[in-house]
């Protein structure tokens, strides 16, 4: 295995929506700064395990921009909406900081080439209070093209980062390997932005057979960013607020386009509209569907029968631009005007762009590890960020990281007389590289593993499904069940050391499994810590079926200390608070 050592100023891990926009912003912020100070350009490196042209959540495209401040509304309205949807467990400072930027990043996207629907006066056409209509099929190629044009940004595609380099709680780089070029990468950086997205594949999916990866969230988002942070002691927040999407059955295609686009109501098998009975927050819409099924009134549908031929044609096209499988489904079977569309809840995901799970960050998106910033689905406390929120967070994290690099750049230069320290640092680094390379080579050389990575992944998903509130139990769990889940996850983890791989892609699968196991343990600990049911389905604690504002109108945070997950309950930030700083 070749070892390549790279040096950069700003390392961005993950070239999805947030990562690409962070690079675009950092390049711009840096250029402005350098014109003023006549300084050298910062080197920016994006490392992506696939290819930034079609990586992350938006590979297939996106149908609408769901976070936009429409005419007659203010960022405060958006903050209030997100806060209500999460029943109070949000960070207002984070929500304010993104919602103030939604419209600017949208205008920038349009300039880069995104098609947005306009009326005859040139105004964006809205869908509901917060959404605008687009053709987002090519949103990722648009962002990737913009990145390609930047001189000081290098992109390393097909390189999987699996560990941070952190010393004295300060990040100085990361480690990874090329999936297809037999190369180990040791990357040094002055600051790092983590933008690897959330975690899919923790729970058994809706269709565990041939179509196991036909899921809502990208199956390639394995939560690497969470896992690396957890292992290095970063504080995490709200992992118990899982996200469960309400989707079209089988194809797991979006339902919002049907509900908001043609006004389709949720109905049960008796044809009764049930959505109003359970409430219309994101989690209540899922819960209502689960409850109707449990009470024998399933299956549930979105009532599309009777829509006009024009509406139907537009729907078939709209789904081709974001979830083509649903259009095939309609073409092979009854179309939506003739048959209602059956709906179901997905398996739970951990995703900070929809719920509030992720790194505990300050307003600047600094994590609790010095020099490490988080943006997009990996960053916590700030739900309902969607595409524009991920862009806004990429922008905020990039500006903060550049500011940090410029402020600390002198401190990084070795002082005279400190040669010994530098050598010690280099020795530590070489030892870390050697140990990582040895581990990878062990997986490649050992041959007699009883289990495959795939089998252990399935075992993990079954354990989480049955004992940590998956689809099987209607998303509910008890403390007893969570204890069993923890035991099982520990057992599975103990078997990973003997796994074998024939190439680096299979080595990546082993690391992804280990990442998921790390996250499962945090999810279980968080679910066990919140002794209430604040969000139905998302965190359905059947030991404590009621909400407990007295004790749990709080953030549930956690940190790994000496191998143990320590739960930290933090008071909510004040109403309307615009700024939050770490005190650690």
């Amino acid at each position: 295995m070749k070892i390549e050592r790279l040096k950069t100023d700003l390392l961005i891990i993950g070239g999805g929506t947030a990562g690409c926009y962070a690079a675009i912003t950092a390049a711009k912020a840096n250029a402005a700064n350098n014109v003023a100070n006549n300084a050298a350009y910062l080197k920016i490196l994006i490392v992506e395990k696939a290819n930034i042209k079609r990586s992350g959540c938006l590979a297939a495209g996106v149908n609408a921009l769901n976070a936009y401040i429409t005419e007659g509304h203010t960022p405060k309205d958006y903050v209030e909406y997100a806060k209500k949807d999460a029943d109070g467990i949000v960070r207002e400072d984070l929500l304010y900081s993104i919602s103030g930027k939604f419209n600017d990043v949208t205008a920038h996207l349009e300039k880069l080439g995104l098609v947005i629907l306009k009326d005859k006066d040139g105004k964006y056409v809205t869908r509901g209070n917060r959404n605008i209509k687009i053709n987002g099929e090519n949103i990722k190629p648009i962002l990737a093209n913009a990145v390609k044009k930047l001189n000081n940004v290098t992109v390393l595609n097909h390189v999987n980062i699996f560990d941070f380099s952190v010393h004295d709680n300060k990040i100085d780089g990361a480690y990874g390997f090329g999936i297809e070029n037999d190369t180990f990468y040791a990357i040094e950086a002055k600051a790092v932005i983590i933008a690897t997205g959330g975690a899919a594949g923790l729970y058994r999916p809706n269709n565990p057979g041939f179509s196991r990866h036909k899921m809502w969230y990208p199956p390639f988002n394995t939560g690497a960013g969470y896992a690396m942070g957890i292992r290095h002691g970063a504080e995490m927040t709200t992992f118990e607020m899982r996200f469960i999407a309400l989707r079209c059955k089988d194809t797991i295609a979006p339902t919002g386009t049907l509900a908001q686009g043609v006004g389709a109501k949720q109905v049960n098998a008796l044809g009764e509209v049930y959505e109003t009975k359970y409430g219309i927050s994101t989690s209540e819409r899922v819960y209502g569907t689960v409850a109707e099924n449990l009470e024998g009134r399933g299956p549930c549908y979105l009532r599309t029968v009777g829509i006009t031929p024009e509406q139907e044609e537009s729907l078939l096209k709209a789904y081709l631009n974001m979830a083509p499988s649903q259009t095939i489904r309609w073409i092979e079977n009854d179309t939506p005007s003739k048959a209602n569309v059956e709906i179901e809840g997905t398996e739970p995901y951990i995703v900070g762009g929809h719920t509030a799970s992720g790194y505990w960050v300050d307003t600047k998106r600094a994590t609790t590890i010095e020099g490490l910033y988080a943006a997009g689905d990996v960053a916590g406390g700030c739900p309902q960020k969607y595409v524009t929120g991920a862009l806004a967070e990429g922008e905020i994290a990039a500006k903060s990281a550049v500011e940090y690099i410029n402020a600390t750049v002198d401190c990084h230069a070795p002082l005279q007389g400190s040669r010994n320290d530098v050598e010690t640092e280099a020795t530590i680094k070489e030892a870390e590289i050697a140990s990582h390379v040895a581990e990878i080579e062990t997986y490649l050389s050992q041959k007699n593993s009883l289990y495959t990575t795939e089998q252990l992944e399935e075992a993990m998903q079954i354990a989480m499904d049955e004992y940590a509130g998956g689809i099987m139990t209607g998303y509910g769990y008890t403390e007893k069940q969570l204890n069993i889940a923890k035991e099982k996850i520990d057992e599975i983890e103990s078997l990973t050391g003997k796994l074998s791989a024939t190439d680096l892609q299979e080595v990546m699968y082993i690391y992804e499994l280990k990442e998921r196991l790390t996250i499962c343990k945090s999810v279980i600990a968080h679910l066990a810590a919140r002794h209430e049911t604040r969000w139905h389905s998302f965190a359905e604690n059947t030991d404590y079926p009621e909400k407990d504002n007295e004790r749990f109108r709080k953030y549930v945070n956690s940190r790994l200390e000496n191998g143990q997950i320590k739960i930290i309950l933090r008071e909510l930030t004040a109403e309307g608070q615009r700024n939050y700083e770490h005190h650690h």
Binding site: N207, F210, S211, K214, E332, N333, Q505
Partner: protein, 108 residues
């Protein structure tokens, strides 16, 4: 949900391999693309849009209601700009098409 690659049509350009978000497509010793991990396909259709010779089709697994329909896209000249034509080859041999103008926004 997965894809099939027509080895007769494939010219081995490697674009599908480069773009797959799961790096699931590989190039074999005959310089032809093949999907190494068919069960791991997300169904994003990135590869289909990338293929210059329309060698890749996708289909729904039978477990999620697939009935033998294969789908691919072709670029065709429109009045003002290129149009994406989605071509559905159904199991009974019939063919349906839907044209999408990339410059037109979704109505919903």
């Amino acid at each position: 949900m997965s894809i099939i690659i027509d080895q007769g049509k494939c010219i081995g350009c490697g674009r599908c391999h480069d773009v797959c978000p799961g790096t699931l497509i590989k190039i074999n010793e005959n310089k032809k693309a093949f999907i190494k991990y068919p069960k791991d396909c997300w169904g994003c259709t990135s590869c289909i849009k990338e293929c210059p010779v329309h060698a890749i089709s996708f289909f729904l697994g039978e477990d999620i209601g697939g009935k033998g329909c294969k789908v691919h896209t072709e670029k065709v000249k429109g009045e003002k700009n290129d149009i994406v034509r989605w071509i559905f080859e159904l199991n009974d041999g019939s063919v349906k098409t839907i044209d999408i103008d990339p410059k037109e926004s979704n109505k919903y």
